[in-house]
Symmetry: C2
Subunit: 411 residues, 2 copies
């Protein structure tokens, strides 16, 4: 398995400022990995609001069920994340492990278990030995301090080749607030590993209900518009914590509050940045692929066509082979089950129209298109010619390394 | 690209008997390939009934549209199939090419163009030069004779590694009738190539309406239960021709006629055999994978769960790596969107239960399962524990060869 950093990794990693009311610490609990951190504790100030969106899998992990239950209260005082074991499909022992983890963290930090949120990523189906958190948790709680989001991002990695962080600022009224986010690898992307996890932190003062609405809205065109292999993790988790500790910050109760305009933009920027990094770190990825579908009967229809293209193994292998194979794009449009008319279809690779109105574009210059296909970032546009529906998804190519990473590791 | 024969190819190729009323000939028209046959002409006796099922793609090929139009008459006198060019996404020139091909064949055989059925497989989006059929068609018509279905199967291959034929017999009343079938590669399986094509021939006397019902019924658990990569061709075509030339054969008008009982069984055997061969010849395939889902709320639900497993890149790469990775099976069950309860789920590999009631089976012997995973044929069973719905699909593993075949050919 290749462990080198993805060639698509961002060239610059931003410095993330500390966020008032968020303290972080990481440790080596030895869940699965040796010689690296594998547990993150985030401690939040009293009054922190929480929101979350989770996998749509019918077989979710135990921590996902834990979070869903406790999210109803809308308040969070701590977050514990471990890598190495997903605590998914672990039956009753999985539920016991979440309870024990929360109890250990609550005891160390002087909190109630119901105020602790949990996420796990790693092997599916292996019992998680939560007693391993006991020896490190008090130290984590004692050492937790503002800052070092990059260390937090590192502690939650599984086969990610680089840590993923993003930051933005916005004004709410006259108060400057910060939005920081960390994330790890997309979907079911790694040997036996489950999960996209992402956590966003802000010092804004926003009610849990408003935060939930913002997050649900923000995820639509960011994390939900990224696909690596079409496989959905049992553990996908995106949570957001708002401490309200920015000085003199207005307290916002409703997501429709006009004072949130700039904040929404900042949140969207962080989610878009993190989700793009997830696509850039798709297993074995050598190309970042942006797929735009326009002229569909609706945005939802455009999304389904775009995902059909993005998840097609034949399209993805063609892009890996630097081949502007628009015939396979036609195939993927045709199989999406959405309204499409062959004779209205046009396709562009890297801004060059290769197919028009149901046939090869007569002016299509193969050399120019080939040059586009050699780039690390591929822009693929499809116009259906039916309506005004438009959408965009990100994916990566399908390489032999993907198969090696996911198929070779036992042999 | 590997051109060696799939290790999963059947060890024995059956001898296919001639069918009264079916004459075959093949030729080299030079559509794309050099040094091999690439066009098949089948000529049928007067009164031959025809039925067909086609791709559900919204962007079907020109020959698919041609066949759909002319199928309404229910009668066929000839079939022309070419490999090398799919005549798909070829706009007006594609429609002109189908018309010209039918005219050339009709003239050579003394028939009407509307009695000629067409199929094409190969490159998408390249205009098909139908004038290339003109120099060979008269010879094909003159040479056409009963027998040699294997040569017919060879002429329609694209990147198939072996020709696919199957045969069965049945009695209708006191008359013995034969069902012969040929097929080529599944779904979108080859570089720039589109298509699963299959043609079935019988000397039974069955009305077009009854034939259509039999075919539609027969395809459900055979060709529609096979997936290679989840990609749907623009050209998928399965047609059946019944000449009625078996001596003294009863003429059957309705599919519900009890005299068809044995015939239905024979037809199903041929379709099952051919579709399994298609799975055995999936690109880069090293394992044939049979997936059975039981305990679903319905057969349709079981089918969707089975297809979710069969099309999961992570399940397919795990099988390529000979890894009984039931965590990925859980993931694929969970993402199918069908009723499933984690804590009722059980999973077997090769008859060995590896997961039970939402957790790893405590009696699971990894060595025994590993031995199962080394076999060329993998049997994967999932019990959902909810109802009586059961279904079965066939697929193959996802290997580096698949990526090489589909991604490397231009580099």
């Amino acid at each position: 398995m290749s462990t080198s950093i993805s060639p698509l990794a961002p060239k610059n990693v931003p410095e993330l400022p500390a966020i008032a009311g968020v303290r972080l610490a990481t440790a080596q609990a030895g869940i699965r990995y040796a010689g690296r951190t594998d547990v993150l504790l985030a401690v939040f100030s009293a009054g922190t609001s929480v929101a979350g969106v989770f996998t749509k899998s019918k077989c979710p992990s135990a921590p996902v069920e834990w979070c869903r239950t406790h999210l109803k209260m809308g308040k969070a005082r701590a977050l514990v994340v471990n890598s190495g074991n997903a605590n998914a499909f672990t039956g009753k022992s999985g539920r016991a492990a979440t309870k024990l983890t929360a109890e250990i963290a609550a005891k160390a930090a002087g909190l109630k278990p119901s105020e602790i949120f949990l996420a796990s990523t790693g092997v599916i189906g292996e019992p998680l030995d939560a007693t391993k958190f006991a020896p490190v948790m008090q130290g984590l709680s004692d050492r937790a301090q503002p800052g070092d989001f990059l260390a937090a991002a590192r502690a939650i990695m599984t086969t990610d080749t680089f840590p993923k962080v993003a930051t933005a600022t916005a004004k709410i009224g006259k108060t400057k607030v910060t939005v920081n986010g960390i994330a790890k690898g997309a979907g079911m992307i790694a040997p036996d590993m489950a999960t996209m996890l992402s956590f966003v932190f802000t010092d804004a003062a926003i009610s849990a209900a408003a935060l939930q609405a913002l997050l649900k809205d923000g995820v639509t065109d960011t994390f939900n518009a990224v696909t690596i292999d079409g496989d959905t993790s049992t553990s996908d988790t995106l949570m957001m914590f708002a401490t309200g500790q920015a000085p003199d910050c207005p307290r916002i109760a409703r997501a429709s509050d006009p004072r949130l305009k700039a904040f929404k933009k900042a949140l969207l920027a962080v989610l878009a940045n993190l989700s793009e990094q997830v696509a850039r770190d798709g297993e074995g990825a050598r190309k970042l692929v942006e797929i735009v579908v326009e002229g569909a009967v609706s945005k939802a229809s455009a999304r389904r066509v775009a995902l059909s293209i993005a998840n097609s193994p034949l399209v993805k292998t063609a892009i890996a082979g630097e081949d502007a194979n628009w015939g396979r794009v036609v195939m993927a449009v045709g199989k999406a089950g959405e309204p499409a008319e062959r004779d209205r279809l046009s396709i562009w690779f890297g801004g060059i129209r290769v197919a028009h109105k149901g046939a090869r574009d007569p002016r299509y210059d193969e050399a120019a298109v080939s040059a586009q296909m050699k780039k690390p970032e591929i822009y693929l546009k499809v116009a259906l010619g039916l309506g005004k529906g438009r959408d965009r998804v990100l994916t990566c190519d399908l390489t032999k390394d993907y198969v090696a990473i996911n198929g070779d590791y036992r042999s």
